[in-house]
Amino acid sequence: MEAVTELKSAYMEIFEAAAQAGGMLGERRRQAIDSFERLGFPTRRMEAWKHAKLDPLTRQVFPPAAPGGELSPAVVSRFADVAGAVRLVFVDGHFSSRHSDLSAAPAGVRVQSLDAALREDTDLVREQFARVVDVDGHAFAALNTAFSADGAVIDIADNVVMDAPVVVIFASSSQLAGHAAYPRILLRAGQGSEVRLVQQHLGDVDDTHLVAPVTELVLRDNSGVSLQHFQDDGPGAWHLGAISARVPRDARFALHTVSAGSRFARTDVQVDLVEPGADLRMNGLYMVDGKRYADYHTVVRHVTDHSQSQQLFKGILGGRGEAVFDGTIHVARDAQQTDSEQQNSNLLLNPMALAHSNPRLEIYADDVKCAHGSTVGELDEDAMFYLRSRGIGLDDAQALLTFAFANEVLDDMIEPALSGQARQRLLALLPGGASLEALE
């Protein structure tokens, strides 16, 4: 028996020792930790993880962070501040009523913490929690499902069109050093409803820690969901997240994502377009410098006919940064009239930076339109000379062109609070960025 005990992972031991095993989600959490036991941490021998050097994450155990962490004023000042918005703030994965404001929720919109939803036994959690994300195939989604102490649960009734977005902020305190946070969002958009959701990750913790969020989005027919995802954790963060959405008939899902902070960041996006008229738009921008690693893995599945997807991911790589874009588009045999486009462009600011770009098309239908493209390049020399011949210095010219490269993605971010912060992050990355800021 002792040998068997030894085979248990430290995470299973933590799970078994915690009280979370019971309750409404007890069985699902149990299945999730079993999945993790089966999967283990990904290794570089797996195709989808071959560039991910996870050693610092796997040679140490990160227990879930306790509640009660205090945010630094610098972190609080970076909250996405949107007038009239419902705001939920989580510190190290735990709901913080002090920083949150749920009073602005309009009629037909139910916003609560997962903890509160569990106590009320809401049907949304019972029916959908861990039903959209692939718990059995993603070790970090499995860990999150097993351990997520809290999260945001958002339920929007049919035909409710929200004016202001719902803002969900996952912030880190110094208590997260050496620990793990498991942020979670579950959103359901009723038929004909429209909602903008902001998911912001931020922190300033230097010591190694794990942030493993899961976002599950359930769209009903003809609904529209726009998720603005801003990943800007502290320098010590290992961010391994999953965003999963199921898009039915005539529903529209737009994802705008920016990856800027943390030591290591990977987000797996999975979108299933399951009925005719389903529409997906994805815009992503990732910035790496120093030794930062950023990674987007997207899987878009066109399951039936007449669905559309459009993806544009851009990377800006400086220092010895490394980035991966890996985008799978799967078009099932019955998915005729699929219209799908995927573009990934990378800008290398330093020859030591490394960009990997892997478009993968799996097309089993014969009457479809699928276009994809991928580029890795440096700044255009002719454009550099043109700017310099007008008196603009080398650094400023580089900053201006880099900014222009990224702007196409940032322009599409609807929430000014976030796109403004993303622009600042971008400018900070660039030599000459400060003088560019003065031009704004």
Binding site: D380, E381, D382, A383, F385, Y386, L387, R388, S389, R390, G391, I392, G393, L394, D396, A397, L400, L401, F403, A404, F405, N407, E408, S435, L436, L439
Partner: protein, 251 residues
């Protein structure tokens, strides 16, 4: 002292010598036309003067206002008043024309120790100068040269020149590919900018430009050397005889 003094300038591209000893002196207030057939080195001369990295100066000297021009970075030349109107203006998606001009103008003013123009003064200036070349205000808001027609791109060059007010304007085949209406507009912009303190170096393949901008001097550039210099009547002679005459002389 002349504003621009080119002495025995040699330059090469990828090891091939293109300029083989250019001598040229341009003073303030003067308009010089450099004419020559394709491949004679006209564009190389303009790029070398503007500071393009892709051209290697293999000999000679260029003094600008008494300073060693070849020793300066492209942006420093521009800040001292050298302007190159591009033969093929570059499209820069994502950078609005006005934004770009503001960055350029501020860099130049800063270098001169002047304050940056405030938003109102800047807008007034660009509107005024845009009207010089009949430039639609919508083009100002668009990305630099993106989707512009050939004529619009050339007009944009003259417009930028009018905003930046250089001391020495080098216009590289600004007339090529323009229909007569566009050519007139471009010429009108240049003529409006003529000034006792400003010099122009018009680099052109076609004599037609000189019907609209009257030069003080005309130089014939063939095979990397200036074969002949003279007044505007030289352009007329060229129109009659073509470049072949000068090529034979060289042989």
């Amino acid at each position: 002292m002349a504003l621009l003094e080119i002495k025995n300038l040699h330059a090469a591209v990828e090891g091939e010598e293109i300029l083989r000893g250019i001598n040229l002196s341009v003073d303030r207030g003067e308009v010089h036309a450099v004419m020559g057939p394709n491949g004679s080195g006209k564009s190389t001369l303009s790029k070398v003067l503007a500071g393009h990295d892709g051209y290697e100066v293999t000999g000679g000297q260029v003094l600008y206002d008494g300073k060693d021009l070849l020793d300066m970075e492209a942006e420093d030349r521009a800040r001292l008043g050298v302007f190159l109107g591009f033969q093929y203006p570059v499209e820069i998606p994502g950078v609005a024309n006005t934004y770009f001009l503001k960055a350029a103008l501020n860099a130049i003013r800063k270098h001169r120790g002047e304050d940056e123009l405030d938003a109102v003064a800047f807008l007034k200036r660009i509107r005024e100068r845009a009207s010089l070349v009949n430039m639609d205000e919508n083009l100002l808001k668009r990305a630099v040269n993106e989707g512009f027609s050939g004529g619009e791109k050339k007009r944009n060059e003259i417009f930028q020149m009018a905003v930046l007010e250089p001391q020495l304007a080098i216009l590289d085949e600004t007339d090529s590919g323009l229909d007569i209406d566009a050519l007139r507009i471009v010429a009108q912009g240049v003529n409006a900018m003529r000034d006792p303190d400003r010099a122009f170096l018009l680099i052109t393949h076609y004599q037609r430009l000189l019907d609209h901008i009257e030069p003080d001097y005309v130089h014939v550039l063939v095979n990397g050397r200036i074969r002949q210099s003279g007044g505007k009547e030289l352009a007329e002679e060229l129109e009659r005889s073509g470049y072949a005459l000068f090529e034979e002389n060289a042989a």
